[in-house]
């Protein structure tokens, strides 16, 4: 035994010597598509021995082992492993058309595209930065099938986009693993974005129910190429896409005459209306007065935005770094307004390698956004703007006298936006985030890594409002010249100062264990994570009225009489454990299972812990023998997944009974008395909503990238939605039963993405269309469903009618109810002969121009029983987009077309058919042009799309109900962005001493096709509600932008 051992040792020794003495060198040329490929990494398998190919694609490597294989890898090309049997080895790399080697960030880790089993969409940095956007969220539009990013307006600081995965609702957004705000992240800092659409999100447990968007920021580059500096600067000019066009003074006066208000009532004395000529004229000069458009006075044509970013990125032997500083400055489109929004982003992501086994990542990021503007309410501003009469001047000859709109609430929007009049409002948000994570490669167990990290974040939203009272005037040159022409009209607001601060603090420790091993045909990876979060929020406000002087606009120096202050404190906490196992057999059969346990302080101890498992499978069909050598199929993979997730932001301490202290009071004898109210009945078992999602997907790439596709179909069941189980108690019981996890809804749909790459002559191009569909139903809803059996026939019929109209269970979740109409009455005799009682009073209150509502059940009268589904909500069921890219020499042209359908826009209020008759809001041109005209007897002589004006205005009561008359099932297609870039030739760049120079121009929202009919061009199909949630005429429109940018590498 001993002898044998000895001999074996000797053998090994000699073989070892033999290796050392017989070192072999391999040389060769690496090409792709016939051209030499520089920078390809050549590594001897199983060692750290490696080189890179030179500028001509040549490499030389000295092997440690004669029989080694060499691994050739280069980003964007398929990795090849070849046996180094001869001393010359020329290699031709194939492009990775299916992007199988692309690294995809997943929950608590990353993997390659080929091993992916979940429905995960990715966006890479290149797709984000050469586009204009003040708000980073909007950059995600049209990038991932199933992710909708709808832009709700473009007012700086309020230019949010609703990010929703498969119409599930707002998704969880994690930036480097921490819940965060994507909109204010500098797009230049983003390395990649992953969108977890199915059970892949389960690993985030109780918060992940609506899907997860993972954003990863850049780190030091992968290769030791020294420091790379990049400057990226843009200047963007933006202009509003749509602006409602209002009637001019003559048309306005004509409408006022028609609706019985009298034109002369609606204009200053120095103007008058000539009824025969239908013209407004100036009584002093005798000239016609065409009027003023308040919108065009308020908005200027092009507003500038500038963005700068400077970053350094590199990696040495012990140190990797990404350092970035960004600045964005945006102005609003309000003319003469004091309104700016700016943002600073600073980020340092450092990687340090202490020993072979121990390394660290040290990340710091700071963000500051400042919205500095005049003091006015955004929605009030729109409301007032919509009421500025064309017969009243927005700016008087002497502009120091503030105008008034001439409307009922006459506050001048033109002066609201000026600090000199309305005061100032400063919103300053700071966010500081710091993270240290230590990574230890456990030396005793191959493949085991431990990472401990601590993340701390503090965010302060600070706001100061200095509200000034300002005087408004009327102008009438008939009263005299100079100051005499101005008469004091009234004041706006009172002098007031308020300061608010909202401070958040979050602490997030995390420990991760990773294990990775391969043997034979088996690949195994496992991850175990423990993390917790504690969160505190403290809101503090103080306000006072009547500062002594605006020279010293501070609370201390304001009136003692009306002091007000408040504090709100809240906290929350969560504990979580996460586990995951990935197993791959023969690179063909993929398996992944995850489990997360979450506990949150929002719920009682009894129902606090939740467990969220998921499982997903993949089958790489193209690796099977029957397809492996196919020249058609580059890749084909079938995926299936099922997972459970939660939504825990639905209840906060609902398990406690007792009394709530109100912040309100009631007065007795001059003093405020405190109020408490019963918190109601409680349910100790209240807990989160549960989402179960099943997904099946197929990925394929054919004909060397000639066609690629990813298709996913999904079904999500959302259970345990909190509801008041009140169907068993009547309203007069006086209290609601405690919230209970009762209701369920679902969503179903699919996402499809296609890719086509090709080349025509010298132009290579790619086209990447995608489409997604999602719609939901109420599966089971806590509600009264009336019995239709076991009762008499009449009751059964009535109950069935009630159930049809009011029961939600089993029905689509986006039904909008209302009346179907068939035009409007054009004559009194038509009303008199109308067989259906529309108003419940034998049509005694119905007048010419009222809508003809259809009696669906034929009972001769109109009531709720005649309501049908007339719309499908404001959330598009269909989203589609196409990315197109063309490349010719140094030129690159990218286009994104984007559209949506399957939603309804209601043109209500001043955006609707009746707006021409409201005397409060000034009519829009489309309403004037499309109104029907009455004859002398009051009957309608000229029938157009809209009813005629009504005597003294307003929507007549009979019509003030939801009908299909002013709704459109909308759809649109929009050229969202177009981008032309030019990479300056290498020779020239070298002469400048730079690495690369890229110049580009880009534009957004420049072309739209929609089906809004008469409303088209006046309203943006992407906006379905106003800024205040009301009618769409109360929204800051979307912008079209033109950007010029330069990106310099040095």
């Amino acid at each position: 035994m001993n002898k044998h051992y000895y001999i074996s040792f000797l053998w090994i020794f000699f073989i070892g010597i033999g290796f050392l003495t017989a070192q072999k060198t391999v040389t060769g040329t690496i090409t792709a598509d016939g051209s030499p490929l520089p920078g390809v990494s050549v590594i001897e398998q199983g060692t750290v021995n490696g080189v890179q190919s030179d500028f001509d694609g040549n490499y030389t490597i000295t092997l440690q082992d004669d029989n080694s294989s060499l691994i050739f890898s280069y980003l964007g090309f398929l990795t090849q492993t070849l046996s180094a049997s001869s001393s010359t080895l020329d290699v031709s790399l194939l492009e990775d058309v299916a992007k199988l080697e692309e690294v995809v960030v997943t929950g608590y880790g990353s993997t390659t595209k080929k091993s992916l089993t979940g429905a995960i969409g990715t966006v890479s940095a290149e797709n984000l930065t050469l586009k204009p956007a003040a708000n980073t969220s909007t950059l995600l539009m049209g990038q991932v099938a199933g992710l909708s990013a709808r832009q709700g307006g473009s007012l700086p600081g309020y230019d949010w986009a609703t990010l929703s995965i498969r119409n599930f609702g707002s998704a969880l957004i994690l930036i480097d693993g921490v819940e965060s705000n994507l909109g204010q992240l500098d797009p230049n800092d983003i390395q990649s974005i992953s969108v977890l659409k199915d059970a892949a999100a389960s690993i985030y447990g109780a918060r992940a129910g609506n899907g997860v968007i993972l954003v990863t920021t850049k780190r030091g580059s992968d290769d030791a190429q020294g420091a790379k500096f990049t400057y990226h600067g843009t200047t963007t000019w933006s202009n509003l896409i749509t602006m409602p066009k209002t009637v001019n003074a003559h048309q306005f006066a004509e409408l006022m005459e028609e609706n019985g208000l009298g034109a002369e009532n609606e204009m200053p004395e120095y103007l008058d209306y000539d009824t025969t000529r239908k013209r407004v004229y100036n009584r002093i000069t005798g000239k016609d007065f065409d009027g003023v458009d308040w919108y065009r006075t308020a908005y200027k044509d092009w507003a500038p935005q500038t963005q700068h970013n400077l970053s350094a990125r590199g990696r040495g032997e012990k140190m990797g770094y990404f350092i970035s500083i960004g600045f964005t400055d945006t102005e609003s489109a309000f003319r003469d307004a004091d309104y700016t929004h700016n943002r600073y982003n600073i980020r340092t992501n450092l990687d340090a390698k202490f020993t072979d086994n121990l390394s660290a990542a040290i990340d710091l990021s700071y963000r500051q956004t400042t919205l500095d503007r005049a003091n006015f309410g955004i929605s009030e501003m729109y409301n007032r703007l919509a009421t500025g009469k064309p017969t009243n001047l927005p700016v008087f000859p002497d502009p120091s006298f503030a105008s008034q709109t001439g409307a009922a609430t006459p506050y001048s929007p033109i002066y609201m936006v000026r600090k000199s009049h309305s005061g100032t409002r400063l919103d300053r948000d700071n966010n500081l985030q710091a993270r240290i994570s230590l990574k230890y490669d456990v030396p005793f167990i191959k493949g085991l890594t431990a990472i401990a990290s601590l993340n701390m974040e503090t965010q302060t939203e600070w706001n100061k409002q200095i509200q000034k009272k300002f005087n408004m005037y009327t102008y009438d040159p008939l009263d005299g010249e100079g100051d005499a022409a101005y008469t004091f009209f009234g004041t706006y607001q009172r002098d007031f100062i308020s300061v608010n601060s909202d401070r958040d603090m979050e602490l997030l420790p995390k420990l991760t264990l990773n294990y990775e091993n391969s043997w034979d045909q088996h690949d195994l990876r496992a991850t175990l994570v423990a993390e917790s979060t504690t969160f505190e929020r403290d809101y503090l406000m103080g306000s006072r009225t009547d500062p002594l002087s605006f020279e010293a606009p501070y609370l201390n120096y304001s009136s003692e009489a009306e002091r007000n202050n408040a504090e709100i404190f809240s906290q929350s906490a969560r504990s979580s454990y996460v586990g995951r196992v990935n197993y791959t057999f023969d690179q063909k059969y993929l398996f992944e299972a995850t489990m997360r346990a979450d506990a949150t302080a929002r719920y009682a101890a009894e129902g606090r812990w939740g467990y969220f498992p998921s499982v997903s499978l993949g089958w790489r069909i193209s690796e099977e023998d029957f397809l492996k050598d196919s020249s058609t199929w580059n890749n084909l993979k079938l995926r299936a997944s099922y997972g459970v997730m939660g939504n825990d932001a639905v209840s906060n301490f609902d398990f406690l009974t007792g009394y709530n202290i109100s912040s309100g009071f009631y007065m007795f004898d001059g003093k405020p008395y405190p109020i408490i109210s019963s918190a109601g009945l409680a349910n100790a078992l209240v807990t989160w909503e549960t989402m179960k999602i099943a997904n099946i997907g197929l990925d394929g790439t054919l004909w060397d990238g000639g066609l690629g596709f990813e298709i996913d179909a999904f079904y999500r069941l959302r259970e345990d939605i909190l509801a008041l189980p009140d169907s068993d108690i009547p309203f007069h019981f006086g209290a609601s039963l405690p919230k209970t996890n009762l209701n369920s809804r679902d969503n179903r749909g699919f996402d499809l993405m296609l890719k086509h790459k090709g080349k025509i002559g010298n132009v290579s191009y790619s086209i990447n269309p995608m489409v997604s569909y999602s719609r939901g139903k109420y599966v089971n809803w806590e509600e009264n469903i009336l019995p239709t059996t076991g009762v008499d026939a009449a009751t059964a019929k009535a109950n069935a009618e009630y159930n049809r109209r009011y029961v939600l269970t089993g029905n689509w979740d986006d039904r909008q109810w209302g009346y179907q109409t068939n035009g409007f009455f054009t004559s009194q005799s038509q009303i008199d002969n109308h067989p259906v009682d529309i108003d419940g009073a034998g049509n005694a209150t119905v007048i010419v121009g009222n809508l003809i509502r259809i009696d669906q059940n034929g009972d001769g009268k109109i009531d709720w029983k005649d309501q049908i589904v007339i719309g499908q909500g404001g959330m598009p069921k269909w989203n589609y987009s196409t990315n197109m890219s063309f490349k010719f020499k140094n030129w690159n042209l990218d286009m994104l077309w984007q559209g949506a359908s399957g939603y309804t826009i209601t043109f209500g209020g001043a955006a609707g058919p009746w707006s021409h008759s409201g005397h409060q809001t000034v009519a829009k041109s489309f309403a004037y042009e499309n109104r029907s005209l009455r004859g002398a007897n009051g009957d309608i002589e000229v029938v157009k799309a809209f009813p005629p004006t009504f005597t003294t205005g307003g929507i007549p009561q009979v019509d003030n109900v939801a009908t299909d008359f002013n709704r459109i099932d909308a759809m649109y297609l929009r050229l969202k962005t177009v981008n032309l870039s030019y990479s300056v030739g290498k020779a020239f760049v070298d002469r400048l001493g730079l690495n690369a120079v890229q110049l580009y121009v880009a534009a957004s929202n420049i072309l739209t096709f929609d089906n809004l009919g008469v409303y088209s061009g006046s309203y943006d199909p992407e906006i379905t509600t106003g800024t205040d949630g009301g009618n769409i005429d109360r929204a800051y429109p979307n912008n079209m932008t033109i950007t010029s940018g330069i990106k310099i590498g040095f």
């Binding site: 706006y492 504690t534 301490f653 408490i676 108690i729 007048i847």
Partner: protein
Amino acid sequence: MKKLFYLSISLIFVFGCADLDLQPTDMISEDAVKKDPKLVEAFLTKIYANAVFEPNEVSSMKGQERLTDAVVGAEYTLMAPWQNGVKASYSIPTSSGAHNNLNRWHYGNIRSCNEIIEILNNATFDAATVKQQIAEAKFLRAWMYLDMAKRYGGMPLEITAKSVDAGTDELMIPRSTLKATYDQIISDLDAGIADLPGSALYGKASKWAAFALKSRAALYAARIAKYHPQSADGLTSIPSGSAGGYYASALASANAVIDGGKHALHTGSNKETTFGEIFYKVKGISEIIFSEEYNTGLGKTHAWSGYALPDGFKAGWGSNMHMYVASDARFEYQDGSPGDTHHAKFNNKTFFDIEEVIYKKDPRYLATLFTPEDIFQGREVWFHDNSVGSGNKLGRAGNAVPKRAPGRNRNRGGRLIQKRVHPDVEFPAFGTDDVDYIVLRTGEMYLNASEAAFETGKMTQAKDRLNALRARVGMPAKTTVTLDLIKNERFVELYAENHRYWDLRTWRDAEAEIHLVTKFGTKWYRRKSDGMYKAKKWKWNFSQNTPFLPKMYWLPYGTNKLAQNPNLVENPGY
């Protein structure tokens, strides 16, 4: 290596640990409330806060909503047709139960009353406090049941806080008859009369408030019994035989307030000022029995003057509440001649002297309204649509006259509501008013007494109570009284105080007074040479007239409420 493994495992648990036993910061336990009279008081204060003493005013929709009762009752109307009050006036309620903002369901607050009474019945603290707080809870419960009974008729009566586990029979109670509902209200008020203090904190219910509310409730019950047709189920009617008893009760309660002396009619030498100041001073006026208090400094405000003030005196909205010609006709002249004496002159031709046509009217008219050239804050309020001829006759306060009044003053009714507007506050910022709201005042008690006395044959008392109100403003006494006269006096005295609509409904006069009645406003034209005016009536109906169908005497419960309790019956006609 094992050590490392155990270390890692234990670290995992350390990292996954956060303190999850957090408490909300705004809660008080049930036990604490049961033991502490201060906390019971705070719970009771919540009921005051949510009882909605000012019609239609719910904290989240202050503003034009509060004007609904007046508009649906055809007292006055508003500037713009889209305002909720106007929309409500056109709306015919349907079986869906929707009637914009006329609906009012108080059961949450009623349950709180019941809970408080239960807590107090078991309370161990000071017996006198307990007794008074129970009486307050009952007063408030009566207020809320009356607020619903006048809308919906007989109500399901909840007078204990039921347990969720109670059986179906206990939970699914039917509606009580309207008589039983009114009797419940009156019995709660009797408890208030017995146990509430004669002198309560301003803003809190007193014995006199209980008397006054009982007088109103009993009068409503009596009118319904006498003037409404009988319904088989008694849900929307009260047996006619009980009318006499309710009238007697209304009379006795009103007299208790009048004769109690604590809340004497407010009097003074300048009749117009005396009447007007009741409504903008409120606190400290003897006549005020019960009111809701506002305070600008504390941020409890409303926007009444913001809506009421005419152009030229306001900063924001304003010129909103316009009187109809028909309402004008109800205000007599100071010599006792009928209110429409000069209406024939409103023919767009005849010039007249406004001192004669307007400023000789009942002082209550002058205190209640802004009228052409009314002098307010030392300046004239202009209403004229245009000027005629040439000349420069100055206005009533001696100021130069504009060619036309500002648009919003001239393009509607021609007279605007002034009642409750504080004359000392110039150009108030919109929504910063703090004039209190009067819930119960002695003026109403005189009218209740007069009507109840009349209906029970006590003609002398009916006349005396009526004439006492007229005497206070210097109007000549009536020698005989009729029901129409009493109704007219009630209109004049209580104009724009949210009584009219409910009076019309309980008298069953609403169809005649409201249904599709054409409304007129007035346009004024001023002659420059001598300041004389001519006027014209103009039809003003916002495109549609106000309907009032017989079924509308009772608002519907609505299908959704009926679906919750199969034992509930809908009001007829829905």
